[in-house]
Symmetry: C2
Subunit: 463 residues, 2 copies
Amino acid sequence: MDETTKENFLKALTKVIPPDRLYTEDEISDDYGHDEINTIFHLPEFAVKPMTTKEVATVMQCANENNISVVVRGAGTGLVGGAIPTTGGLLLDLSGMNEIKQLDTDNLTLTVEPGALLTDIKQYTETRGFFYPPDPGEKTATIGGNISTNAGGMRAIKYGVTRDYVRGLTVVTALGNVMHLGGKFVKNSSGFDLKDMIIGSEGTLGVITEITLKIIIKPEVTMSLLVPFPNFKDAIKAVPNILRSGITPTAVEFFEQNVIKYWESFSQKIFPEDGHQAYLLLSFDGQKEAQIEDDYEKIAELCLEHGAEDVYVLDDVKQQEEIWSARGAFLEAIKDSTTEMDEVDIVVPRSEIVSFVQYVHQIATTENIRIPGFGHAGDGNLHFYVCRDDYDQKTWQEKLTKVFDALYQESKTLGGQVSGEHGIGIAKKVYLRKSLDEVTYTAMKKIKQVFDPNNILNPDKIL
Amino acid sequence: MDETTKENFLKALTKVIPPDRLYTEDEISDDYGHDEINTIFHLPEFAVKPMTTKEVATVMQCANENNISVVVRGAGTGLVGGAIPTTGGLLLDLSGMNEIKQLDTDNLTLTVEPGALLTDIKQYTETRGFFYPPDPGEKTATIGGNISTNAGGMRAIKYGVTRDYVRGLTVVTALGNVMHLGGKFVKNSSGFDLKDMIIGSEGTLGVITEITLKIIIKPEVTMSLLVPFPNFKDAIKAVPNILRSGITPTAVEFFEQNVIKYWESFSQKIFPEDGHQAYLLLSFDGQKEAQIEDDYEKIAELCLEHGAEDVYVLDDVKQQEEIWSARGAFLEAIKDSTTEMDEVDIVVPRSEIVSFVQYVHQIATTENIRIPGFGHAGDGNLHFYVCRDDYDQKTWQEKLTKVFDALYQESKTLGGQVSGEHGIGIAKKVYLRKSLDEVTYTAMKKIKQVFDPNNILNPDKIL
C-alpha cells in the first residue's frame, strides 16, 4: 500500500471511528495477527472496532473507495487462518458489537450482535429457560465467527449445525450497502437463498452485523453414557446401529486411548474409567427423566450387543460436566503434547469413518509421525492433528504436506469433503481446489465477484 | 423463434432424444401449458422426456447453443406458474426420471431421481421402517418440484422443510455442465453453499437430476388432537403457549368454520365435531405410546387453559386419516366453491398471525369478496384464496390486484415474506420485487447471471 493511499484511508477512517477504537502501527495488538492454531502470523495496517451497522457500512465504503482489503475478526478462535489479515489492510474487530438485543418468546428467537460470545448466549438463554442448541467445543468463540464458518459442534447429530439456527441476518456488503436477509418468520420460498450463501462464507461475501437466531425450550434433563470398546472399529461400527434404533442421542463422540493420555498429562487429572482402547461418549436430553432413562437403557443394551466392554452411566451434573469438559479440552491437550501442529477437519459419510481412521493410523506409521484425533462419530466429522514433535522445520513441512495430501485425497475418495465445521480459510484452500470440479469452483469464483466485485473482503481466503 | 432456429434445434434434439420422448406441435399435451392453479396457459414449442443426467446435459447444451428457453416440469402441481413455459421454447418433462435408486441404511439417506413422487417416496421408505418427514399437502408432487420450491408442508414445525432434508444434488447447468453438490456426509463448511442456492430456485439456476435425501427412522406412534375455539384469535393465540411448553407437536394447523363448510359440500361428508368458529388441528409422533400420551395430555390441558371449547383426541388410525385427508383437501374444496381463484402463501412471524388474519377479514369485507383460508399456525405460513365467484373478468382482475397489493403490503409491514412454501414463479414476481430492497434484488439478478448467463432457464420467473 503506498503512503498516499494509507493517508487518505486513515483520514477517511478518522471521520467515522473515534480515536480510541482506531489503531495503527504500534497500537495494533499482536493478537490481530494470528488465530488459535498459530501457524500463520500477519498484522494488518489498520484496525477498527466499530460499534454499529452504520459504522461498519461507512468503513466498508471507505475501504472500497480506497481499495483496501478488509478482514473481519471476532474472538480469533478460528483454526484455518480465516480471520488473519494475510494481505494486510484493515482489520474489522467486531468483538465490541456484542449486545444481546432481544429475546422474543412468541417467535422463539434471539437477536444478537455478531461479537456476542457463545458462552454469553448460553448463559442468557439458559437462565431464562431457553436453549441455543449448537455446541462447538470453543465456547469463547463469537456467534458471528460461528456463522461465518457454519460451526457444527457436538450436538449436531440431534439438533443440526449453526446454519439451522440462523433465521435472519443483517449484512454489510463489500460496497458498504446493507442487506436484510430472512427475518423472524420460519419458512421462506421467496427468491434465491442469499442467507445461506452468507452463512459459511468466512467473511468473504459480506460483514454480518446483526443476527436473529432460532432458539428452543431448554431440555430439563441431560445425561451421558461413557462406553468403552476393545478397539476403534467396534466403537465406530456401533454408531449406525444406535442411530437406527429410533432414538437420537444429542451427541455421539468418539476417541481413542492416546488422546486420553495427552489429556491426563495436560490436565493433571485422571480420566474416569481409563484403560480401554476406544470410547464412545453419548449424551441424551429431553424434558422428562423417565423418557431419557428409557432411551439410554435401550442404547446401552445396543452398545453391549455390538461389542462394548462396559457402559458407564453419568447422570449427575458434576460427573457430566467433568467428562464433557475433558472432551472439550482434547484439542488443547494435543496442542500441549507437541511443539507445533496442524489439523484436518474432514467430513466423510458415516459409513466410511472406519476406513478413514484406519487410513490415518496407516499414514502415521508409514510417515513416522503422531496424528492423534477424535471425532463426531454421529456425523462423520473427524478431527486429526498432525504433530511436529522434534522434527526440524524442513522435515516437518515435507511430512505435513505429504500427510495432508494423502488424507484429503482419501476423504475425497470416500465421498467426503475438506471441512465439516472449521472452514477453509487460507490453510485448506489448496485442498478445497482439489476437491471441487471445475464447474463448481468457477461458480464459486463468480459468486465472490457478485458480492465483492473489487475483491477487498478477506481477499485470499477460501478460493 | 424463427423457422431456421426451430429446425436446427429440432435436428439437434432428435440426435439426443428418441422420437417417442420428443414432442412438437400437436403431440404436445395441453397439460404442459398450465399448473394446478390454472390461471395461466401457455404451451411450449417442444417438449422432451429425458431419462438420464447425460440426456439432460446434452439437451441443455443444444438449448444454450440455439438460445432456446427451457422450463423444467415435474408433476405440474405448482401454484404460481413456475413450471409453465410462458415464453414458449422447450419443456423438459422430468416425470420419467422417477427411480428410487438407493436406500443407504448406514448413512440414513435415500437417493432418488427428481421425478419420483412424494407418495412413492413415502410408500418406499415407510414400508421399510424409514421416514421422509416433509409433508406438503400435494402428495402427487415430484421431489424435484418440492426441492425447486423448497416445499414446506404440515410437519415443518417439528421436522423442518424440504431444504433440511437435501444432502446432495446432481445439477445440470444452463450450459449443459454437471455439478455434484453436497453428498452423503452430514456437516459441510467447504466453500460457498451452492446446494442451498439451487434449492428453492424454481428451475431458474439449474436442472436437478439426482437427489440424496436425509431420512429418519419411522415414528411408531402418531396421534392427533382436534381443538375447537370460540374464535380465530383465541385459536392462534394459544399456539405460542403450546410451543413454549417444551413439547413440539409434529403439526399445528389452523382453520375456520367457513372452510369446513366448503369441504363438506365438496366431499359430501360431515366434518367431525363441526359447529365451532375456529380450530387447531395438532399431531404428535414418536416411538412410544406412553410418551405421546403424556405430551398430548399436557397440550390438551394447555389449550383448555387458553380458551379451547373442547379437545377431541384422535388416536385411531382411521379417524386420523379422515381428518388429515379433509385438511389436505381444503384447497380443492375452496377451488370447487368458486369459478376461479388465486392464492397467497405469505409467511409472517408467528406473533403476527392474528393481525394478518384480521386484516384479511377486513379486506374481504371492504372489497366484498370471499377470501377463505387456513394455515400452518406453528410457523406463520398462511394460505388465503381470493375467490372470483360471480364477478365479471374486469371487476375480478381489479379486485384481485387490489386485494393482493393490500395483503402483500401488510405481510411486509408485519415483517413477513411473499412466499412460505409455494415459491414466486410468475404469479408473485411483482410482489417479490416490492418486498426486496434494491441491493438484495440486484444480488439475486447477478446470481441468476452466474448460473445462467444467456437467461435460458425459466427466463421470466422469480425476478
